[in-house]
């Protein structure tokens, strides 16, 4: 299989406490975002943080895995919505740690039933590369809900 490389960059000026950075997507050019330590551990005030970027990474990784698992099961989705919360906490003796990633997945897949949808979500969690990584160091929780379609 091909090796795919994706690159991002940050320029940081000053100390952690009072400085600030700009994080930029180099491969795609899709974003260029200010970040500070305060936006990370306190109120974000419109600025992103490493943990928010991880939440976006996990949600977008999981959604592609869920879509392919539903298709594989013969119940392709019309629409999926994934919400991810990354929790960072201060762990005694270990400093700040990402302790949990919580995924809430909803979707419309006309031929799926709640049990097969839940099964596809479980397979998606097993197959999503980000889930595999973060599970080694944090608690991954998956909540699922099959929704009724418009028709």
């Amino acid at each position: 299989m091909p090796r795919i490389v994706r690159e991002a960059e940050i320029s940081w000026e000053g100390t952690t406490a009072r400085g600030s950075g700009v994080v930029e997507a180099l491969s795609s050019g899709a974003f260029r975002l200010p970040t500070t330590n305060a936006s990370r551990i306190a109120d974000p005030e419109g600025k992103t943080s490493p943990e928010e970027l991880l939440a976006a990474a996990h949600a977008s990784c999981f959604v592609t895995s869920l879509g392919s698992e539903l298709a594989r099961a013969g119940t392709p989705p019309e629409r999926m919505h994934v919400h991810c919360t990354i929790t960072m906490d201060e762990v005694e003796g270990a400093g700040h740690r990402v302790v949990a990633s919580t995924i809430r997945a909803r979707g419309v897949a006309p031929d799926a039933d709640p049990a097969s949808f839940a099964q596809a979500a479980e397979a998606a969690d097993a197959g999503c590369p980000f889930s595999a990584l973060i599970r080694a160091s944090a608690i991954v929780t998956i909540e699922v809900e099959l929704e009724e379609g418009d028709s």
Partner: protein, 143 residues
């Protein structure tokens, strides 16, 4: 404790469909498009991907850890330029993160900077979260 959230919606199949990172808790970005093609082919076509977001998270986390460590050592940085390159092999997973940092740090010698950078790489929360990645490398130098 700090929670950070993101919302992604996907419509249609993996190969022909597409997704949108609609919003994040801070409001700092979104909507951003994501597609399987943008993720799995050499050309991203201007769209982001989970791996690029991981690269952004790791570069940012490492820079904050390093700037904090340098300040504690009495040599706060003027500027740190960090890049992270994430390698993804479809079917296998994320196989490598390569961190590269160039620092302007008045009053610090190269050896002390390298040591601080190695410590930041070992201890930043995203490094810890990604500890299962088979290979995380660091290239650090003063400029």
């Amino acid at each position: 404790m700090a929670d950070r959230t993101a919302n992604v919606t996907w419509t249609g199949s993996l190969l022909e469909g597409g997704g949108t990172i609609e919003s994040v808790g801070s409001g700092a970005f979104g909507p951003l498009e994501v597609t399987w093609a943008a993720r799995s082919e050499d050309e991203s076509g201007g769209r982001t991907s989970p791996e690029e977001l991981i690269a952004a998270a790791h570069a940012a986390c490492f820079s904050m850890a390093l700037s904090g460590a340098l300040a504690r050592a009495g040599s706060p940085p003027e500027r740190l330029e960090t890049s992270a390159t994430v390698t993804f092999v479809p079917g296998t997973g994320i196989t490598k993160v390569a961190l590269s940092v160039r620092g302007s740090v008045p009053g610090m010698d190269e050896a002390a900077f390298l040591e601080a950078a190695e410590t930041a790489k070992a201890n930043c929360p995203v490094s810890k979260a990604l500890a299962a990645v088979p290979e995380i490398t660091l290239d650090a130098a003063l400029v």
